[in-house]
């Protein structure tokens, strides 16, 4: 009971109630995140409905292969994250640390590939602003698409960076043996955040890379 006593905050009756409260609180935060990204998705929907040809043309500027690989990388990181939480549930300390490190490495790989894509955009003068160069039709509207591309993927990448930092803290806590099958709420909650970032990308990939390939 001493183990439960140290992990249990005074305002809760037991660890189960504390775990429920932590999960509920995290989901309330994630709802605010849904609305936060939702504004961008709504703006995207408005301008895609107004300029469908330009959004299709802008989408051709994205590298589908890199986007698809990144989707697979991020889904794999979600799997290792889910397995890290499972390792905590079954009380395997080393497995938690190893799986969290794997998750962070996959997250870093995602950011690396994103960095390469941004580099290509830079080299092709596709950064929005006075240096933006696009010779096809609807150049202004294509620039608008690229603005959405950078705003949405940039905000997503920022969340990835925060997520990797969060998981680094969790890995240290796990290595110190702070998570047990009875108490692993911080890891569960960090996992929810990581999966949420994966969820956002699941929608960004088709909406940015796969717009009307035949238009």
């Amino acid at each position: 009971m001493s183990e439960a006593g140290s992990a249990l905050a005074t305002q809760f009756d037991d660890l189960e109630q504390q775990h429920d409260a932590a999960t509920l609180g995290m989901w309330i935060f994630l709802v605010t995140e849904i609305m936060f990204f939702g504004g961008l998705f709504a703006g995207y929907a408005v301008y895609r409905s107004m300029y469908p040809q330009a959004f299709a043309a802008g989408s051709r500027l994205c590298e589908i292969a890199l986007g698809a690989i990144n989707t697979a990388v991020l889904i794999s990181s979600s799997l290792t994250m889910a397995l890290a939480v499972r390792a905590a549930q079954t009380g395997r300390r080393l497995a938690i640390v190893a799986l969290l490190v794997a998750t962070m490495l996959l997250g870093a790989a995602f950011l690396g590939i994103k960095f390469v894509e941004y580099g290509h955009k830079y080299a092709e003068h596709l950064i929005p602003g006075s240096g933006f160069t696009y010779t096809g039709p609807y150049a202004q509207q294509v620039q608008l698409f690229v603005c959405f591309y950078f705003a949405m993927t940039g905000l997503h990448a920022l969340h990835m960076v925060i997520g990797i930092g969060l998981l680094a803290v969790m890995a240290v806590l796990a290595a110190r043996g702070r998570f047990t099958p009875a108490h692993y709420s911080p890891l569960e909650v960090a996992g929810l955040y990581w999966h949420f970032v994966d969820l956002v990308w699941i929608f960004l990939f088709p909406l940015l890379y796969l717009v009307d390939l035949h238009k």
């Binding site: 429920d20 709802v31 889910a82």
Partner: protein, 100 residues
């Protein structure tokens, strides 16, 4: 507290389904289906999001309060996008006096 532990089989099954759906969305996007392309893209994305939410994020196994929160998020997102588009997509349906 005894946690609800999902089987490894379930986690890897969900992972396999997510990878298959990712390949599927790229494959379907390469076909010319007109307006159906965006419908398929969003349906597959929603299916993937559902798998991640229900299994990886344990939504199937959490308290009703938590499930209500997740659903509330979706409802408000739907309101945000539906009401915005109900304005934008219906402009020009009716003539407005003074409009050129």
């Amino acid at each position: 507290m005894t946690p609800h532990v999902l089987s490894l089989r379930k986690y890897f099954g969900v992972y396999a389904a997510l990878i298959v759906l990712t390949v599927g969305t790229v494959a379907i996007a390469s076909l010319d289906l007109g307006r159906l392309n965006v419908v398929f893209a969003l349906t597959i994305a929603a299916a993937k999001a559902g798998l991640v939410g229900l299994f990886f994020m344990h939504l199937l196994y959490t308290s009703h309060r938590t499930k209500i929160m997740a659903v509330a998020g979706l409802v408000w997102l739907a309101i945000l996008i539906a009401l915005t588009l109900s304005d934008v997509l219906t402009r020009g349906w009716l003539p407005v006096s003074g409009q050129l």
